[in-house]
Subunit: 423 residues, 2 copies
């Protein structure tokens, strides 16, 4: 049996707004599965090798529940445009390049490495519509040590015909081929991915809903990001009272469904999320960059909606989930200002929970470093920063969220495997 | 005569919203003073050594017009608190540590290096109330190659008595001593710095106004950051209709005055700024972190107010002015959302202008790389990033603003001197 023992200042998020802290604690896993965090080394592990990180922070690694891999090359561009213009001018032409497997291999290799180096070990990710590039993305993530779900995008209308659009028939056939081809991967699994309601015909939506039920496949898409988009969906589906119902009516709305953004989801739509157990992915930077608005995250949490965070590259401009966490904090303050100072801001422990435990919940994990869960962890050395006073672990965590520290991540574990060590 | 010739993709901001671009251009300085940017090497420089940076971007370096040096150790902490609580819990106790010159020397050396490495070569900076530490700060900045103004802070009431507060008499005496002691520095000059109206007695304000007039000294302070602060000022100065008048009545309101924040400045206060030629420093991250609000920057620009950007560490959590520029862009989108999508957002060329030319104007420089101005420049190599398509220089600049690239800054010039070269 392989035992992993990490010693340091262990900080985890066992509940929303709560931190568990063990100074000089021992985080232990057997065969990659956490057995617990202990204040002293339990007797049964005496003599086992301990990786002692001194005073460094040992944290849960991140779960990034919404990002577009083929938009990685355009990260940080076109931000002066609103969503629908930005898609046509930037996102679609960039995604179209992934028809080329060599380009896909090079870009996705770089993306996978950057994810791991930044401590993101679980993802739910959009690929492009290209089957071959999607498989390459899954292989590169698996090779780098990332875990989670990747979806070949389905889009058979209202896209860029001749550049980035499938026929309905192609979309179905390629989806089935892709599902066949990716079944040998161990850590990266498929997720059905209708791009969003405007890009999928009813026939395609019905096919995906049926496929999801037959093969027990999860689903990811976008919801209520932007007011123009919502109006468009209303015109496309006059029979649906609200956007979410365009997914629900095709069987794409359940506890394994991920919906990104939900900026404009009102009480009724939020209730539908809470009741179905849909996971809402908050993409704060993206929503601000594209002037979409500010999602009512605090209200959603109060109403029992499952919430996780997403970088949403390349609507979002940050791949590092430290930055994404800080963006969620800032967005909660924008929300507070928008609401006339009525709404409570998110605290650092709350945002940290969403970035780690909140996302991990989608993969069936318990919050915090829970016994029985796979070991996903990062070691962060913040000793190069000046000290204003002897800092508590909670203060150190806050500073690490806000303050980018090149090279501070010393090591990363993903599903029990050490996948990154700083040089 | 020393000639500096830099070759690359030269991009400058000659006017708000405008970029001048020379691909394969030559940026030339003689004895540290810019002579021009040329598409080919002028004949008179034939044979002179050329520093050829290939396709790298050659950009104006940054001007950071508002930051608190003694808050550098607490960068990224205490962000869940509003301004006045945050000052008492975090900022004041941290600043108090600068009574110790050894601590000051170590921290300020690190800060100065980090500024230069991040391409910030001009600053208007608050020190603490400590005379000795202020002189150390000025020396460390000068040594690292930063230029600009530093102020010993004056604060003789409503602070932390016994921890961080002066008597009126001490404040005056120490200010005069500091002015004597710092006069041999060449690149870092003194600026009078009443912390903000609530921390200065009328007697001290009058003394500073008189000193400013007698010795032709510039002034920096804070204005209308937070609604509680404004209400407090109203109680302290019932004779003044608005906050700005508490500075104006003591002779601290003129074209060499810098006022940070101005989040809540209404039309009348903005008009007073425009008429006096006061420079307003927009600190977007800080205003959001501390839930102060979102400054009406677009409106100020239309009304002819001089605007620059500030990192405002440690209310702001970013020292890099690339991040500060991105924060200003994001804030303009928050402003747009707050205003019901009525207000235009800032474009990248506009925000870039504010971060470079806007701040440089305070030091008497013309916008862009103007002949006759001292050479302040950075060389930025973005070649490690993936290419979605052949990018224009403007797209590359946008990406550099949004996307942090560790190690991308290859070299920095400040007032004609090469002050940083990447290893």
């Amino acid at each position: 049996m392989a035992v992993t023992i990490l010693k340091g200042t262990v900080v985890s998020a066992p509940a929303l707004g709560k931190l568990s802290i063990w100074e000089n604690g021992y985080l232990i896993a057997e065969n990659g599965v956490i057995t617990g965090v202990f204040p002293t080394l339990p007797e049964q592990y005496a003599g086992a090798p301990v990786e002692d990180f001194g005073d460094a922070l040992i944290l849960q690694s991140f779960a990034d529940l919404h990002l577009h891999a083929p938009q990685y090359p355009m990260l940080g561009m076109g931000m002066d445009l609103p969503l629908l213009d930005w898609l046509n001018a930037y996102a679609f032409p960039t995604e179209a390049r992934f028809a080329d497997p060599d380009y896909a291999r090079a870009v996705y290799g770089q993306l996978a490495r950057e994810l791991v180096e930044n401590g993101t070990t679980r993802v739910c990710m959009f690929s492009s519509l290209h089957r071959e590039a999607t498989l390459i993305l899954m292989e590169e993530l698996e090779k780098a040590g990332v875990t989670g779900y990747v979806g070949k995008v389905n889009m058979d209308r209202n896209s860029l015909p001749g550049v980035l659009e499938e026929t309905t028939e192609d979309s179905m056939r390629e989806t089935l081929r892709w599902l066949d081809e990716c079944q040998d991967l161990r850590y990266i699994k498929p997720i059905l991915t209708p791009r969003f309601t405007p890009s999928c015909t009813n026939e395609l939506m019905a096919f995906l809903g049926k496929l999801s039920a037959e093969r027990d496949l999860p689903v990811q898409s976008h919801l209520s990001e932007n007011t123009s988009e919502i109006e468009w969906v209303r015109q496309l589906h006059p029979d649906c009272q609200q956007y979410w119902e365009t997914y629900a009516k095709y069987g794409l709305w359940n506890s394994r469904t991920i919906m990104a953004h939900c900026v404009w989801s009102d009480q009724r739509e939020r209730q539908a999320m809470a009741e179905a157990g849909v996971t809402m992915v908050h993409c704060a930077d993206s929503n601000q960059n594209l002037c979409s608005g500010v999602a009512p995250v605090r209200t959603m949490l109060k109403e029992g909606v499952r919430v996780a965070l997403g970088s949403d590259i390349a609507g979002g401009d940050h791949l590092s989930m430290f930055d994404v966490t800080a963006a969620a904090l800032r967005a909660s303050k924008a929300r507070r200002i928008l609401d006339g100072w009525e709404t409570d801001l998110l605290t650092v422990p709350e945002a940290w929970y969403l970035a780690t435990s909140g996302g991990a919940a989608y993969f069936g994990e318990q919050p915090g470093f829970a016994p029985g869960d796979p070991l996903h962890a990062i070691v962060l050395d913040d000793s190069a920063l000046p000290q204003p006073h002897p800092l508590t672990p909670a203060e150190r965590l806050e500073r690490c969220v806000y303050r980018r520290q090149s090279g501070a991540i010393r090591a990363v574990w993903s599903a029990g495997r050490k996948v990154y060590t700083a040089e």
